[in-house]
């Protein structure tokens, strides 16, 4: 008598099992579930983005409205260019002094802004990132 191979036995047993066809609407249900998941994710992102944008504006706007009022634009960029050129020609020391002045200016800006405005900026950045993910086209040009 020939020994029965294990895999043969397994094949026979599987063949004897009652056949179970996948339900005819399985593909449709899978598609619907994926679409629903996608829609829920979008809605959640949209809500989170809107919340972060509003809270970011609420935190940052009071400090930044001062900036907007103090916006200064020279009639021509020549004075600034001449400043930079003069600093460059005068050597490293003056260049470093100018850089230090710019840094101290930056520090004074932050002192005037305060922590809530910076927190607001961070909230705005995250909100913009979430909204961008929804807006950026997913097709090639």
């Amino acid at each position: 008598m020939e020994p029965i191979h294990k895999s043969q036995l397994m094949d026979d047993l599987l063949a004897q099992m009652p056949g179970e066809l996948p339900p005819p609407d399985l593909a449709l249900r899978v598609c619907q579930a994926v679409r629903l998941h996608h829609r829920r994710t979008r809605q959640a992102r949209l809500v989170l983005s809107a919340f972060l944008a509003l809270s970011g504006l609420w935190l940052a706007l009071p400090a930044f409205s001062g900036w907007l009022q103090a916006v200064w634009m020279p009639k021509s960029a020549l004075p600034l260019a001449m400043d930079w050129l003069a600093a460059g020609l005068a050597g490293v020391e003056v260049l470093l002094t100018t850089a230090a002045a710019a840094l101290s200016q930056s520090a004074s800006i932050f002192t005037s802004l305060g922590t809530p405005a910076i927190a607001g900026m961070i909230a705005l950045a995250i909100s913009a990132l979430l909204a961008l993910d929804l807006l950026v086209p997913r097709r090639e040009f």
């Binding site: 020279p74 021509s76 705005l124 961008l132």
Partner: protein, 219 residues
């Protein structure tokens, strides 16, 4: 005569008149905002050189020529990218609103990251890098916008056989003149910059590829 040819001619005459008026009357587009809210801003403390009294007409002429020549450089340097950006601008539906939205949000994101990066010395150079990215992105997108406007108008007028340089000249003239309108010009310039940044981000810097992390999953 083609209706669009007439529209282009009238639009160019109006634009030239606007530029001339701005040059003669010395309209200040950029400083109109503080003036509008009744406040004259002073120069920051780190500006040492005195304000130069350059005639308005020279300043405007210089800006127009600089915009056109640098736009021409961009056109020659990145023709395929500009073509893709034009395609993005001219795609119908609410595409332009979407581009504007992408531009505004990208501007907010880059500005916020730039400002917060200057909190520590280690990330401070990022502020300069991101500022440059914001400016260059908006500028190249703006060039694509001027070319796209000029090209679309020339196509409608039946002058589509002309060199792309004419499209750039036309677009630059029309958009520059719109930006010279007092009060409204500032808003329009911001709008153009946001559209420019939006198209740059949407076309992934003119490459036409999509923003996706899928290459990270590939073996």
């Amino acid at each position: 005569m083609n209706k669009w040819r007439l529209i282009i001619i009238i639009w160019v005459i109006v634009s030239l008149a606007l530029i001339l008026a701005s040059a003669l009357l010395g309209w200040e587009t950029w400083n109109s905002f503080p003036a509008m809210i009744g406040r004259q801003a002073a120069a920051p403390s780190y500006v040492h050189a005195p304000e130069l009294d350059i005639p308005a007409w020279l300043s405007i002429l210089g800006a127009l020529i600089t915009l056109f020549l640098s736009g021409l450089l961009v056109l020659y340097a990145l023709p395929a990218q500009i073509r893709r950006m034009e395609k993005a601008y001219t795609t119908g539906g609410n595409q332009r609103v979407r581009l504007l939205g992408v531009g505004i949000l990208s501007g907010v994101l880059i500005a916020a990251v730039g400002v917060t990066s200057s909190l520590t010395m280690g990330t401070f150079p990022l502020m300069i890098f991101l500022g440059s990215l914001l400016f260059l992105g908006s500028y190249i997108g703006y060039v694509a916008l001027t070319y796209s406007l000029g090209h679309q108008l020339l196509i409608r007028a039946g002058w589509d056989r002309l060199s792309p340089v004419y499209a750039l000249i036309l677009g630059t003239l029309l958009l520059f003149a719109a930006g010279e309108i007092p009060g409204l010009g500032l808003i329009l310039n911001l709008l153009f910059a946001c559209l420019g940044l939006g198209v740059m981000i949407s076309t992934r810097f003119g490459s036409g590829r999509t923003w996706s992390l899928s290459p990270l999953f590939e073996d």
